[in-house]
Amino acid sequence: MSTKGTHIPERLKIPFAGITPAPSQEKGQDLFPTGNWRAIRPVYRDKLPPCNNACGTNEKIQGYLDLVKRGKYVDAYALIKEDMPFPSVTGRVCYHPCEQACNRGKYDEAISIRAVERFLGDLGQALTRDVVKAGAPNGKKVAVVGSGPAGHSAAYQLVRLGYKVTILEKSPKAGGLNRGGIPDWVLPQHVLDREIERLVELGITIKTNVEVGKDVTWDDLKRDYDAVVLAVGLTQPNSVRAEGENKDGVLYGLPFLRDIGMGTSKVKLGARVAVIGGGNTAIDCAREALRQGAVEVTMITVEANPQEMPAVPEDLHDMLEEGVELVHGRAMTAVLGNGKVEALQLHPARFSGAINASPINVNREVPAERFHVDHVIIAVGQRAALDWLPDEFKSDRGTIKIDRFGRLGDTNFFAAGDVVQLGLGQPLMVVNAVGDGKRVAFNLDKVMRGESLQPRTIPVDVIFDLNRMNMTYFPHFPRVHQTLLAPASRRKTQEEVIQALSEEQAVEEAGRCFSCGTCNACDNCYLVCPEPCIERPSRSNGLYKILVDYCKGCRVCIEECPTGCLEGVPELDFDTGVVRMDTAFAILPGLHGRQAEELRNLAERPAKSI
């Protein structure tokens, strides 16, 4: 309340006969604390957006999309780099669980998060100096075995924490499956090279052609380093155990792609190629086969239809566009041919239980089909090569046995990535390996500092329900689509299939983000409050404040918060900040009470002074 500009004659400035005197400007401000009308108090409480929650390394997606909206690209890049060492890579290869979880997907189309991530990653690659710095050296040495996504991520976080990190890699080039699995037309090698350079710039030593178990032993690791992270991935391809699998012309997906990636491939494919398997690796193999000169490529899967295939739908779609054929519900039971594969023997088959995770039932009652091929590529999963690992740390799943913090018993060895995640029911993917590497690095640091490892107990409120936000503020807008090379031309080249977003497109796409559950300083609450009793020194998440002395609890702000950051909490839950209003006639302590005190003393004052 205000008395500004009000002329108050002297005689009205003293209390008289139960009428409280006019207040001063300052007192006027707190004369009527209407907050005591309130039953429900609005509270700013950020929720976790489902995208952040679904991301394997919990990138602050909502946060960087918001920065992109504001044109603060370098800040956005720096934010993404907290959790993700190579956004240029995941911006291309990630299976984007975030987009599957994106709330906008329930409304019109999910945000093209990966495309914006790539925009930021490429921007970061173009910076002459990266935004990330190594931490102050703490004098401790860590070896990271394996330079795939998990090892890369662990090394990156550890060097930021001040460790002296050495990566040991058995291949001639660093990168793990980023190089030796994911094809060039998804992830060009120069992009990966630049990210590996960034690791070296941070002071990490990368030793290639060093294999643990051969060049370096378990005991060497134990002796030479304060701690070790094992991120050795899955390097051995599975076989289908069909008759004649040892014939010429039978290839395995992983080495097939790895040799192409490392530049050491000698394979020359014939015209007709079959790929066995229905997952992402099989898709990559089929599409790579076209690029290696095959004319007709057929994918043979046990899954009865495309929906059941454990593959990313977009990649499947792009593969079909390139002309790969699908044959469903068949298992390869033998490789036929004289020394060299000439045809495959196929039988109807289906999974006996849950898709992709159960034994296969083959129907041998019906006559077998003969499927003519020049080459067959088997891509039915990978396993780890762990001969060098002490037995006590081997699990039944053929993985490294760890506790829930990624630690091997009470040693200073930790493990991360595919080599621990295989068989846990989670799809194996780069971002999960990155997240694992990050968490393990933080746990390792705790152990090194003598802190106890404790599971997180704070409950997280993930905002899945669109009713908790206000959708009226978000008109429908279509997703910005990345352009693709035309199918006919791309099936012959190693050129990147999916093209980058322009700056304008990236901003437009980021603008579609609801900012689920997280204040993005849109100012709506501030503008619509009838009192108005919402203050903010400047427009920023966390700086909005409700003046609880005045807020009447109308909840207009809560209703009109587009993001659902504001919520109502019953006033009884608070024991602070609740104001009581005294009336002019109630002689109570407090504001009016003080004036009433003066009233009571009135009689004792000389008449003249009144």
Binding site: S2, Q29, T34, C522, D523, V528, P530, K552, C554, I558
Partner: protein, 354 residues
Amino acid sequence: MSAIEVQRQLLPILDSPNQGARFYNPELPSSEPFVPGHRTCAGCGPSIQYRMTSKAAGDNTILIGPTGCMYVANSSYLCTPYNVPWAHTQIGSAGSFTAGVAAAYEAMIRKGKWKGAYPNIICEAGDGSASDIGLASISGALYRNHDCLIICYDNEQYANTGIQASSRTPYGGMTTFSPPGPMVPEAKKLYPKDLARMMAAGHPHCYVATASVGYPIDLMNKVRKGLNHKGAAYLMVYTPCQKGFVYETPRSIDLGRLVVECGLYPIWEWDPEKRQYDYSFRPQNMRPVSEYLKLQGRFGHLHTQHIANLQKFANEQWQMMGVELPEALLQAADAKNLVNMAAAEEAVTVAETV
């Protein structure tokens, strides 16, 4: 005699908060001419309007408050929530008082006694004042073209005296003066006075517009256009009153959107230069009136025929704006396709309490 220099404040127009798919309000002025501590009801629509209007106008502003909630519930013990000069005036003299303030500044400037920029002179009259009791005085101020902005904050009834019908109360709206009963089941038989069009038609040299608290930036921009207009301007703003409309307080802004989306409150501007209406404002959605009515106790007694009548009325408003009617809205104007208000029984008890 040389021409008199009048320094004017030209207030910039604010950007739309809808930037493509992104919702983000433009940078708002930092001044706060309206401060908390007043005793209007929680969620009061007129207060929301005051907050937005005064923020758009800024600190060099004089407010005039004819009797109504925005005076009575706000000013006591010689203090008010207005952090700029404010004066109460009698409910019937909204226009004459405002004209007097404007004339006084004109005279002071002529005599060289006022050096600064010409202040924003804003009268905030309730609909009771603007459409009934003070109509003549407001028409006079507009007609004489005093440099001021007269706002009718339209809560569609005399709120402050306990909810009585005004000539802005809609057809079917229950108030203590228009209760539903066996003889008049729809509560109010007459349709609301087309006040803003009356002002535009009668004073074509004035800037006239309608707005709603459901569209804050549009409202603030119309305030600024009205103030920038040299001469008199008139603005009629939809401001829900939770006490009289009987709704849940968080809905205040939502109702401001719904009333427009239902076609019951056409949003337009009258351009005094071109002498024509601008009907280009389009809400995001078009909805049947029942979606608006069902949120309010004051319509709880309506029968299908009454709802159909209101839909017909809304459809006429859309047609006036040159909007083609979707089939669903034409259907909704037929009582056969409607159901009675679900809250009818509850509304009876409410009727006894307001």
